[in-house]
Amino acid sequence: MNKPIKRISTVIVSLILLACTDGALNNPYVQKEDNGKVIYTVFSERPKHLDPAKAYSSNEYAIIAQVYEPLFQYHYLKRPYQLEPLLAQSMPRVRYFDAQNKPLDETALATDIAYSEYLLTIRKGVKFQPHPSFNLVLHKTLPEDWAGDDLYRLPLATRVLTSDDFIYQIKRLADPATQSPIAGLMGGYIIGFNDFSKKQKALQTQFPQLRKAQRLQAESMMGVRKINEQQFIIRIKGKYPQFINWLAMPFFSPMAWEADEFYSHQILLKKNMSLDWFPVGTGPYFLKENNPNRRMVLLKNPNFHDDFYPSQGTAESLSAGLLADAGKQLPLTDKVIFSLEKESIPYWNKFLQGYYDSSGISSDSFDQAVVFSAIGGVGLTDNMRARDIGLQTAVTTSTHYLGFNMLDDVVGGYTQKNKKLRQAISIVMDYEEYISIFQNGRGVPSQSIIPPGIFGHVGGQQGVNPVVYEWRGKAVRRTVSQAKELLTAAGYENGIDSATGKPLVLYFDSMDSGPDSKARLNWLRKQFDKLNIQLVIRGTDYNRFQEKMRNGNAQMFMWAWNADYPDPENFLFLLYGKNAKAVHGGENAANYQNAEFDALFEQMSTMDNTPQRQAIIDKMINITQQDAAWLWGFHPKAFSLHHAWYKNGNPNLMANNKTKYINIDPVLRANYQAKWNKPVYWPLAIVLLVFLCLLIPAYLIYRRIERSTAL
C-alpha cells in the first residue's frame, strides 16, 4: 500500500536531484552546451531544401543564406535598399549589344538592346568551409572506421573559390534533375540556358550511369563564359536591370563540383546526407548538425574571408546603437542553434523565459506585448519593458490582396458595368477594420499594388486611390451610400440584378481552415451585406484552390505576394497580361489583361529608377485603380521582439544573411534566465500533504480489517 508514496517520493527526490545539477529545471537545452556567444532561435517546419538551386522560401533562406554567399548582398543598414559586392570584388560591368552583336553605349534604347553582358569579378582568396568533399580520395571510398553519424568526423579539407564554381551552379540551375523553381524564368533570360537543359536531359537518358558532376561539366552553356579564375561573363537577352537582384539571391551562390560528386555515395543517401541537407558553402557559418526533427546547428566557419560590420548607416541606425560594432570582423557569434518549434505557444512561452533571443508577436500575445499610445505610436507594455525587451517594427515589402477573376462573367470583364461593381465592392470592404480586428492594427491599407519602401510607391495625397478614398487631410474611405450608387449604376440596385430580378450572389474561394478562419469569413460576409449582396464561401483545400486558380474557375480570392527583390517590376508583373495564370500559367492570378498597361509595363521594366520611370508607374497604377481588378488590401507590418542581450537586430526585409551581424551578451542572458526561471516547489509539498492525509483513514480501516480477519 505504500507503493504510491514511494513512487511520488522518488519523483520528488529525482526532481530535487535534478535541481542540484542544473541551473534551471526548465531549460530546454542541454546545459553541457556552452553559454557563450550562441544565438538561440527556431524553425517552425523542416525546410524542404537546403540546396541553393532549389530553396525558395524564407525558412530555407534563414539557414542557407548563412552558409552560401552570392556575389552581391543588400547593405545591412542603408535605406533605400542598396546592393554591394559580397563575393564579387566590385559591382559588375554591364555592356549592351544589338542584334548584330555590336556593342552599344549606356544610353541605348531598351528596344535596340538585344543582349546584355555582365562581367563579374570575384574576390581573391576566398576559401570554402572545411568539408570532406574537398578530400578527393573520399569520392572513391569512405573510410571504414567512420561511424556514419557525423560528416565532420571525416577528414576535412578546403579549396579556393574560382569562377568555375559560379558557372557550375548556373548549370545546376538549368539541369532538369535539379528542378530549380527559377529554371523557367532564367531560361527566358540567360542565353543557352534552355539548350543546356535539353542537352542534359538527353545525356541523362543516354548515359544514366553518368554522375551529375561529370554530366554537367561535359557540356557548356552558351551565355556563361569563364575568362580566368577570377572573372566570368553572363550574357542575357535584352535589357533586364533586375538581373543583378537575382544575382544577389542564394540561387547564384557558388557551388563546388566536388560536393555533388561526394554526395553521390549511396551510403550517404541512405543516411539522409545529401547536398539538399548538408550544404557546402563559403559563408560565415557552416551547418554542423542537421536533425530536421529536432534542431539544426550552425558553427562559425573557420575559413571565412574578411568581412566587416558596416560603418555607415542611416541616422536612425546610428541613434539605435547599431554602429557599436562597426568595423569588427564578422560573424559576431560562434554558434546558432535553430530548435524545432511548430507551435506559437511554446515558442512564445520560451521566449518569455529567455530561452529564445527573439520572437514575432502572434495576434494572441499581442495585447500582452504592445500598447498604442495616444498619438498613434506603438510601444511595449509595462510587463515587457520590465523585462528589458525591445521592439522593432517595419512595413513589409509584401501585399495582401483580394483579387477578382477577370475572366468571370459577373465580377470580371472590362465594361463600365463590371468596373462599377468591382469599385462598389472595393469601397465597402473596410480594410481598416480588417487590419484592426485580424492584424491587431499591424498593417497599412494599400492604395496601390506597390508597398512602401519600393521605388514607385507614392505616399500622402498624391498616392491615394481615388476610387476608394477621398482626401480630407488624410485618406478617408468613401461611404457605403457612394458604393450603393455605383452598384445601382452597375445595374444591381439594392443587390438585385435588374436584368433577371434575382438577388446577386457572389462566390468567394478560400483555402482557410484554421480556427480563426470562421471569424474572417464572417467578417467578409458582413462587408458584402452592406450592399445587400449575398456572399457564398467556397472553402476548399490547398490543392483544389490552386487548381481553381490555374483553370480560372474562381471568382474572388485572397492572396499575398512577397517581394523577391526591391523593384516595382516584381509587383507590377502580377498584373501583366502575359503572366495571366489561367491563360499563360504565370503569376497574374486575377488574369488581368489591359493592353495599355501591358505596353507601359514592357517599357517600365527595363528602365532605371528615374523620374520618367515614376511617371510611367503612376500612369500604370492609375489604370489599375480604375479597373479595380484587385481590392488592394494591405501591406502587413512586421513586429518583432528581442531580449536585451540580443544586439544589432535591424529589420532588413531584403537581406537574408542577417545572422552574421547579430551580437550576443551571454552574461546578461545567463542573469536574466536565472531571474525568470525560479521553480515553485510548494504546490508539490501540498500534493504530498493531501496524499498523506488520505493515508490516515486508509490506515485506520486497514487496522480494522486486519483485526476483524484475525478474529
Binding site: P181, E343, E587
Partner: protein, 325 residues
Amino acid sequence: MINYIIRRLLYVFPVLIGVNILTFVLFFVVNTPDDMARMQLGDKHVSQAAVENWKQQRGYDLPLLWNEQAQGVEQATNTIFFKKSVGLFVFDLGLSDNGRDIAADISQRMWPSLAIAIPSLIFGVLANITFALLLIFYRGNYLEFGGLFLCIVSMSISGLFYIIAGQYLIGKLLVLTPISGYAPGADAFKFIILPVLIGVVGGLGSGVRWYRSLFLEEAAKDYVRTAKAKGLSDLQVLFKHVLKNALIPILTGIVVILPLLFMGSLISESFFGIPGLGSYTIDAISSQDFAIVRSMVFLGSFLYIIGLLLTDISYTLVDPRVSLD
C-alpha cells in the same frame, strides 16, 4: 506450434495487401500525382514542365492501377501501385515525397517515441494495479466508493484537458519542466517526465476500473475462499494469490500493445514537441506526403498483427492448457 505460427505469418500477407490497396485507393481518390507535385514544388513560378519532371523522377508518371499501354504482366506491374507496394513487403520504404529516406527517418524518430511510451506503459500498469488492488482491499468501504467515483470522473475528462492543464501548471506556472522539446540520451529525462506523468494520470481512471474487474473475477474463485479459510490475511491473499493468477490476462493484455508502442502518441508528441513517430505521421498527413503515410500505415498494420500473434503465443506460454493446434 511452429506450424501455427507459420500459418499466421502467411495470413499477414493478404491483410497487408488489403491494407495497402485501401490506403492507396483512399489517397488517390483525393489526390492526383499532379497535386502531389505542386504541393512539394511550392507555389512561386511552378510550370507544368516542372510538375512532369517531378512526377517522372519520383515514379508517379505511370498509371495508377492498370497500365493499358504495357504488354502482358507489365499491365499490372508497370503501375504506381505495384512499384510502390513491392518495396514495402521487403521493408524497403524508399524515399518520401520530399526526398528523404523514410527508413532512416523512422529509425531516428522511433527512439523518442519509445522513450515516452515505455515509461508511460510501465508506470501506468504499476499505478493501475496498485490502485485497483487497494480498491479491492477496501471493498464495501467509503474509500472504494470514493475511488470508483473518481475513476468515472477522470474517465469523463478529455485527454486534451490533462495535457493542456499539465503543461500550463507544471511547465508555465511552476517552472518545473521545460514547456516542450527533447534531447537524446540521459538528457531526455527532464523532457519526458511531464508527458509520462500526464499519460499515467490520464489513463488512471479507465485502467484502474479494468484491472479491478479483472481482480474481482479472480477474487470470486474458490481457491481464494480456501486461502482465506486457511487463515491468510486479506492483504496476503490479494498479493499472493489474486495478483499472481491475474498476471496472465494482464501480461497478454500488455503484449498486444507492445509492438504498437513504436507508433508513438499522436497528440502528446505534437503538444510537447517530441520528434517521434506520432508527430511524424501527423506532419505527413498535413503535408499530404503519401509515401510516409503509406509506410506508417503499413508499419502500423504489420505491428498490430504481430501483436495479435504474440498474444496467442504468450497464452500458450503462460497457460499450458491452451494449445494452438
